[in-house]
Symmetry: C2
Subunit: 318 residues, 2 copies
């Protein structure tokens, strides 16, 4: 009898669905922080981000279905046996992360961070002019599903959307203009909003250089809901302090948690959320993760090819 | 020669436009706080909210074009001569106020107010589950242009929109269901978001009673970007303190400014902005006010009927 180890959060309905698919297998539901090395070693399928160090190239492991989009911790050479198929949960986070990015954009446009600060001091104070999505040029850097969903909402609110992507291709619906990543410097000076949804790859580390911040409008708003290491926190701080851009909001930082003594925390025109855009914060995300896991479990039972298979070159879905 | 007194903010382009229309008249541009009683008494047309007490039923005043949507201060019997046509700037604020309401809604949904508080303490802390516009039932109370524009964005983000209006009529495009104001209690229990854009009339004072807050879901979010006196601040505070609703955001309060010692300021699940959704905070609003004023000035020059004429019964556009 093969073992299936499930470490993602599940409710009764999820348990029933998984057991229904895995007829003839033993299914163990174990919270991630209670998993033992023995359970990992005996599993043919693992659903959930078990600690990477526990895997030890298990020969028995046929399918590792992550609950995250990022797979960085699992693609190190030798960590997984060549026989193991690694799948991620790309797609599960689209709605949650794109909405969080829209919320952060509007918060900055309407200066709601400054009004929240004023409220804490019981101050009925006018913080001055605001901006609007209508007619704004919004640069969406990284055109995966999250970027496309963010773009669609901004466009529905009246923005002119420029999409930035790595590889040439047709302009997706809802994008007014498409430019290649290598051409980004030609459009940065036109952007009222730069929203970064770049994945964490070698090519995107410190993508936003001091020169790129200088190319932006002094009134530009910078949003990061992709990977934290696309921006050096000190470079971002300097761009804000020196007025290269007007304000920024980020859900991710290069070091997480951002150290408590980092001055970015106290920069007034900086909004920080602690990597919560994704996760299990939206019920929909949880359902989508279970959906992806169930689909791959079903395929594995039938000997079919998995979906959401991770490309070890990029760390992302093939 | 007739006098035209302009007290709204104007730039060189605006001055030129107004002078271009008002050929043969004397045009004075005077900031509102520098206007004299003599200037008001001599004006045939006033563009701007001059202090009501200065008007003294001037027989000379033919057109008073306000820069606000509300005209409450100018409809008192005897204040204006029967010969004066009173016009407001309804329409100028639609974009700014509807966007502010969307921004507040997303702020509450994504708990960005709590994350801002955590940021101020340099705390990388997870504030738990969030909600999404997708599939949310959003009640839009007051279906003027602001309410309709708010509804359109929430619908584009996936919400199910119920519109609430005073008079029966066809269901406007973008509204999934229409109910009459007198029937609101039948739909309040279904709402995930209640967004109030009610005008300030006798019928809307303290519209949101304790009973109505009790009818709402405990998870409901309440937004007010209409008039402050639709909600008694103490009733709202109690609804938040007792968990009748999950959170609220308001741009308006019954007393403005909200007194510094009012506990609403310090209620964590309450977001307050100081009546800034409208005003001149968005450049677009300013242009629209000038557009309306120029249109009515043009009509007055030609002896045509004005637009945006205030109904003295309701205080709003006829």
């Amino acid at each position: 009898m093969k073992n299936i180890l499930v470490t993602i959060p599940v409710n009764d309905g999820h348990r029933e669905r998984i057991r229904g698919i895995a007829g003839g297998c033993r299914v163990d539901f174990v919270p991630r922080n209670e998993v033992t090395e023995a359970q990992v070693a005996e599993a043919s399928v693992i659903i959930g981000n078990v600690p990477a160090k526990m895997i030890r190239a298990s020969q028995r492991l046929e399918l590792l279905q992550l609950e995250s989009a990022g797979a960085d911790a699992y693609i190190a050479p030798g960590l997984l046996s060549p026989a193991t198929v690694l799948c991620n949960a790309t797609g599960a986070y689209n709605r949650a992360v794109s909405e969080h990015a829209v919320a952060l954009t509007l918060m900055l446009m309407k200066k709601l961070h400054l009004y929240r600060d004023a409220q804490r001091a019981a101050l009925w104070t006018d913080c001055g002019s605001v901006s609007s999505p209508v007619g704004a040029t919004v640069l969406v850097v990284g055109l995966g599903e999250i970027g496309l969903q963010y773009a669609a909402v901004m466009k529905a609110m009246g923005a002119n959307v420029i999409g930035v992507k790595r590889r040439p291709g047709p302009c997706p619906a809802g994008i007014d203009q498409l430019v290649l990543t290598e051409e980004i410097d030609t459009v940065l000076p036109r952007a009222d909003v730069v929203c970064s949804i770049l994945p964490g790859t070698a090519a995107t580390v410190h993508f936003y250089t001091p020169e790129r911040f200088r190319l932006m409008k002094k009134s530009a708003l910078f949003i990061n809901c992709g990977r934290g290491n696309a921006v050096d926190s000190d470079v971002l701080l300097k761009a804000l302090q020196e007025g290269e851009i007007a304000a920024a909001a980020t859900d991710v930082t290069e070091r997480e948690p951002l150290p408590g003594d980092h001055p970015l925390w106290r920069q007034e025109n900086m909004v920080i959320t602690p990597h919560v855009a994704g996760g299990y914060h939206l019920a929909h995300t949880h359902e989508r993760i279970v959906d992806i896991a169930c689909e791959n479990l079903r395929r594995w039972m039938r000997g079919e090819e998995a979906c959401n298979v991770v490309d070890f070159e990029t760390g992302y879905r093939r």
